[in-house]
Each structure stands twice: as structure tokens, then as C-alpha cells.
């Protein structure tokens, strides 16, 4: 089954609100094998809404509409729907019952706005709204489903989860879609593509999407088939192929973040870490401490932005900074070693680099970053070049530093 989502609301068209409703609906439908083929946003304008309905009604099996069901003057979806189906708005006892219950629970009086919310286009089934007064509308005709929901995220979400998904799940489907995402870092999109080789050789009809971001490329595998197990088996095969070719770059699956994955690894290996940051300016510590329970393995961080702070706290020799420069292999190693020593942790991690936009030179351009790593056996440093864009340099260096630690602990070369 194929679906189209129509989102209604000026607030999306002026960029005030991101259309996360559509993503939510798409992700949920996907899990039960319904494919969203188009997402459309139009404003709170009756003509635009009617045009959107007319243009798309015949292009999918399911049309899902959100927004414009509220009680205020700019909520015109209900009227547009009844015009589209050439039907009239009628008082629904069922809708009234839900509105009454809703207001009663909150000790709020019955009023004209509430009365309006009991109107539903004739022929529509009512979808109960647990968290608001706007009833959802469910039409089943011409061999298709036309579903209208409020735009308030949690009201819509509960309709999707409690009503829409169970309804379509029990329908027999002859097409499943299963997705799996592999999270990579440390390899550019084009190199990754080269490594994997000709996708035709291993995809056999499944799909593989490369989704790049500053911190790495996500690889999304999608398989379609008539049985879930069959799709999963095919994804498994493709994943094996990819892991064969690029295992060391893959740090996680689906929604995993590297800081989450690294946190688990540190816990499993019972290791504590301390961080000395220069160019990343606290971002590594910030990311690591975003994870609940990180105090178990994150001991301390130092943002040694000034040279004096590197000398004072990390005991880096002044002449090393003068001779090699603050952005150097020597200093990166001394920082990693120093923070490990003073914190008494198993691992010391450091960064020193030029985040820009100023401070670059021909020998040490903006984007040059040294990541230092120290444990009881060794102290080493790697050189990276992350290009420009201050925040992106910080992001990339942060990701590279965390991945450095991941690979060292897991002994991935």
C-alpha cells in the first residue's frame, strides 16, 4: 500500500515549525510496510487544500492529512474535507462524547468552541482524540482510505499509534519493507562507495542509500518482499557484505550515536577516561556527558584553551609549546598523557588544532587537528584535516577523537 501525507499549516510554510509530524507518520507506516511516496505541505487556505486533495486523491491508497482541525478561525480543514467529499458537516454523538469527557477531566466548561468540535463530515468515522478536542476523521471509499488528524503532535501521534497502525497492521499486506542503517565515521562517502564496489553485485533489488553528515556517512539498507523474515534475511546478507568491506568504520546501527556506543564500550571494559581539549573547546566532554550514567566513566575534562592552562594544569613544558607550537604532535601527546596522569584514569584523550576562521598558516591550515591518545601502554597522536567551518571542524574532530578511542579499546586497526 502506498500513502501520501498532506500537512496543512502556515507555520510550516514560514519555517517556524519543522514538519516532524510527517516524519513521525512516515516512520510508523514504514514499520508495517506502508510506503510513503510523497509528503506535501500547504497553507491554511481552502483553495490550496482542495487542490492538494484533488491532485493526490487518486495517486495513493492512503491519504493522511494533518492540521487545521482546531477551534480557531484559521482551522479550515474540516470544511475543506466536507467540500471535497461533497458532504455536509453533521453533529456527531461520538465526537461529542469524547469532547465532553475531555473537558470534564480538566474541569473546563462546555462552550461554543467545544460545540463546533462535535461537527464531523457526514460519512466519516470518528477517531478519538485522547489529548484534545479535535476528533480525527476516517473515510473508507473508492477502495482507499482518507484520514484527517489534528496537527498538534501528541494528539496526532496517539491517533496513529492507537488507531491507524493497529487498523492497517491487521490488514493483510503483500509487501513488507524493512530498513537497517549502519553508522560509519572516518571515511568519505566516495571512498566508502569505492570500497563497497558495484552495488548491483550485492543488492539484488534491495536498496542502499548513502546519507552523509559532518560526522560520518549513514548507510541505509532497505529490502522489500512478501514476508518480513525474507526481508530481514536479505538485509542480513547485505550488511555482512558491507561489514566485510568496511567493518572498522562502522560504529553502530540505526539510531546509535558514537558517544552512546563509546560509553557502553567504556563500561564493558571497565575503563575511565579524562579529556584535555583545545580546539574542540569542550565539545567532546559535552557529548560524552550527554549520555545518562556517564559519570561512571567520564572523570574530568579540561579545556586548555590558553597556553598557560596547558602549562599549569597539564605540565606541558613551555619550550615544547615554543618549539613545536601548540598545534603539534608533541603537544597532543603531552596533553593526552598529562590529563591521564593528573586524573588517574585509564585513558587520556586530547585535541589540539586550528578551528578557524583565523589562525591558519600554509604549514598549519585551518582544519588541521591533532588527536592524542594515552593509555598505560602507549601515548600516540594522529593528524587530521577537517577543512573549514569552525563548528564543523569541532564536530568532526570530536567524532574522530571518540572514534579513535573506540578503535583503540576494540583493537581495530
Amino acid at each position: 500500500m502506498r500513502a501520501i501525507i498532506i500537512s496543512i499549516g502556515d507555520e510550516i510554510l514560514i519555517g517556524q515549525v519543522v514538519n516532524s509530524n510527517a516524519s513521525f507518520i512516515a516512520a510508523k507506516l514504514n514499520t508495517i510496510g506502508i510506503q510513503v511516496i510523497k509528503i506535501l505541505t500547504v497553507g491554511d487556505d481552502e483553495e490550496d487544500i482542495l487542490n492538494a486533495f484533488t491532485d493526490h486523491y487518486h495517486k495513493a491508497d492512503i491519504i493522511l492529512v494533518t492540521g487545521g482541525l482546531g477551534p480557531t478561525h484559521d482551522d479550515i480543514t474540516r470544511t475543506a474535507v466536507s467540500k471535497f467529499f461533497k458532504t455536509k458537516l453533521v453533529k456527531s454523538y461520538e465526537a461529542r462524547k469524547y469532547v465532553e469527557e475531555f473537558l470534564e477531566k480538566r474541569n473546563r466548561p462546555w462552550n461554543e468552541a467545544a460545540e463546533n468540535q462535535t461537527l464531523v463530515p457526514e460519512g466519516a468515522k470518528v477517531i478519538p482524540n485522547k489529548y484534545g478536542t479535535a476528533a480525527g476523521e476516517f473515510f473508507e471509499r473508492d477502495d482507499k482510505y482518507f484520514i484527517v488528524m489534528p496537527g498538534v503532535p501528541y494528539e496526532m501521534e496517539s491517533m496513529i499509534e492507537d488507531f491507524i497502525i493497529p487498523f492497517f497492521k491487521q490488514k493483510k499486506t503483500d509487501l513488507y519493507i524493512v530498513h537497517r542503517t549502519l553508522m560509519t565515521t572516518g571515511i568519505p562517502e566516495s571512498e566508502l562507495a569505492n570500497r563497497l564496489g558495484d552495488t548491483g553485485d550485492f543488492l539484488h533489488g534491495a536498496k542502499l542509500a548513502f546519507l552523509p553528515s559532518p560526522t560520518g556517512v549513514r548507510l541505509r539498507i532497505s529490502a522489500m518482499g512478501t514476508a518480513r523474515e525474507e526481508c530481514e534475511a536479505r538485509i542480513q546478507e547485505i550488511e555482512s557484505h558491507i561489514r566485510n568491506k568496511a567493518e572498522k568504520f562502522i560504529y553502530g546501527v540505526d539510531e546509535d550515536s558514537l558517544e552512546e556506543v563509546l560509553g557502553k564500550i567504556l563500561v564493558e571494559h571497565n575503563l575511565k577516561i579524562a579529556v584535555a581539549e583545545s580546539c574542540t573547546g569542550g565539545m567532546i566532554s559535552h557529548k560524552l556527558t550527554n549520555i545518562p550514567g556517564s559519570s561512571q566513566y567520564f572523570e574530568r575534562g579540561l579545556i586548555a584553551y590558553s597556553n598557560q592552562s596547558k602549562i599549569d594544569i597539564l605540565h606541558i613544558p613551555k619550550d615544547m609549546i615554543e618549539k613545536s607550537g601548540a598545534v603539534s604532535k608533541d603537544v597532543a601527546m603531552a596533553m593526552a598523557h598529562g590529563i591521564r596522569q593528573i586524573a588517574g584514569t585509564d585513558i587520556g584523550l586530547s585535541t589540539t588544532g586550528i578551528a578557524g576562521p583565523a589562525g591558519g598558516s600554509p604549514e598549519k591550515p585551518v582544519g588541521l587537528v591533532w588527536v592524542g591518545y594515552s593509555d598505560i601502554n602507549e601515548t600516540i597522536a594522529h593528524k587530521f584535516n577537517f577543512g573549514d567551518g569552525r563548528l564543523r571542524v569541532k564536530e568532526r574532530a570530536t567524532q574522530a577523537a571518540m572514534d579513535f578511542v573506540r578503535r583503540k579499546i576494540l583493537k581495530i586497526v
Copy 2:
């Protein structure tokens, strides 16, 4: 001028990625009076893309397309565009120049993927890509503009900001919409609304939107008119009214971030700051160092996550931590004072609190945060309660801590 945004990408249709690109573009166009009338998302499918182009080409003055310009097999937008315009892909010297520069900076070799990225539909102007290899494409024909950009957010964003907005800004128009946003923090939406009073009394046809976020409420004023000066004068009046009522909560305008504003204030007052963070885990240092030139005023940061690090580096008496607890007014003050002393800066800033989800108690619930401030005249601390949600607590505490310093320096009570 009216615009339609066409987003291309399976990742949006399966709900894996929220279409924040469209919101970004819509918000930016809005600031220069271009109205987005529709946002459309289709998958990585040539037929769907071509249909979307055909259906919408004649419905707006500007068509903006994002996504599918990368070097891999699922990137088919470039081909679709050239088919749509019945033109061919040609090697662009300009595109090649940008790709070469990009790879050179990163010490990456020229390869087939790069070669492919030099192809541009004939007749298109090249929009330079500062952060990737995919050139943007700009068509001006049939009295309209057809613009194709990559889907990677920061690549697209820089094209919008550096190229698209300046281009359309200088075009004449007969209806101006001028927006101005006042950035507030430290006051809830409802309280702010109360302070401002009845909007009818001061808006006189202009619009005021309250846009709440975890770090504060943005107030967006919009005025429409036939002359830019007229709109700006009306906005000026409304801004004065709002400032009269809520000046101390307003830290900036439009896209100002608090870290940027605070950075400027520190430079102007020739002050240096050092930060000792516990519950914010590096986020304050991270935010402050996001600002270019922050090494001028940010001396060092310490993430004193463990009690031992508070004792070792900040010389906080062990019995103070035992008696008052690590999350206490005493410790917040000692941290702020300690970091100022060891760093030799004008200002010391500290946070200690419970970010959650674990670690709360009836007396010290999740969300409790003490912010400490120290300068040569005084050392003080304020107590906040930021509710739950680990990242939200970190964000709110970071914002509150930075605003604390802003108000102290500017002597705002």
C-alpha cells in the same frame, strides 16, 4: 514572489530524517518577503522527481530543489534536472575549480566520483559549495528561477545565505514583509505575554509571534507594507514598546546567540573568563568556544565531573563537599572562585546540579542547578530548577549561566 520547495530523498519519506532543510529555506525566504506556498517531498526516483518538476514549474516564481546531488548511485537529481530542461550535462570549469579546491584542502585525491561532480546541466549557473563537492545549479528562464542545491544541511545553508538570499534581496518588490526577532531568556512565555499586555494596543496590524524553546522565547515582529522604511518604522515602535516592558530579558535580536552576545560584551569590557562545569558537562565551554575569536576572552574550562577533580584542581575543601553536597550553593561559589583564582581571569563561572535521569532526591530533585559567579568584588550563586530531560537541563543551565554573566557585566538587575 512566491516559491515552492521540492525536497528529494527517500530518507525523508521513510521518516528517518525530518525535513529541516525546507524549514530553514522557508524561514530565510520569509525574511526577505518571499512567500513559500508549498513544500513537497518526493523520493529518489527519477519519474517522481520529473513529475514534481512538471507539476510545479508553472505554479511559482521560484522553485528550490534540495537533495540528490551527491556522487553516489542514488543521487539522481542532476540527471533529472537536465532531462527536465531538455539539456545535457556538461563539464563545468567553475564546478571543477571548487571541487579541486575542496579536495586539495583536505588532502584527498582526485577520483571518478570527483570527476562526476564537475558535471552540471548546460545553461545552469554554478552555485559554489563551500563545504562539499556538489555544485548548486541556478537556472533563470521563463521569467522564473529554478535552483538546485545539495541535501546536506550545511552545504545547502551556506548556498542560501551566501548566494540565494543576497541575490533576491536586491530585486525590487511591491510588497515588503519585514521581520525582527527579539531574543529573550529567563522568562516563561505566559509571563512575557502578561508583561507585554494586550497586543492589540501596540501592534496596529503588525504581527507578533511567541516562539518558545528550551533556552528562551523568541518574539518575532512582522510588518507588511509597500515601502521597506514604513515597515521598519512600525517594527521600531513595537520593539520600543516591548523593550520598555521586558528589556532585561532581551539579550539580542534576529539570529543572535547568547554566546555571541556575551562574547562581544566580554571583548568590549576587556574581560577574561574561565569556567568550571559540573552538570553542564562542557556545554558552556563548547558554546563559548563556538564563537570565532573566543580565545581572546575564554581562558580555560574545567569539567569537574568527579568530586576528586573538584578537590584536586579547584581546591574545594573535601569537607565542604561532604557537608553541603556537591550540588550546593557553597560548592558552586567555591568552584567559581576557584577557577577564577587558578586561571587568573576577571570572571569565574560555575555550574553544579543534577542533570538526571538518575541522582535526584526529594530535597535535590533532577533539574536543580546552582550557577556560581565570581569576580574581584563578589562571589555569588543562584539556584534554578530546570525540570527534567538531561539534555534540556544542560541546555537551560548553560543559557542561564551565560545570561547570569551578561547581566552581571551590564549591571542589569
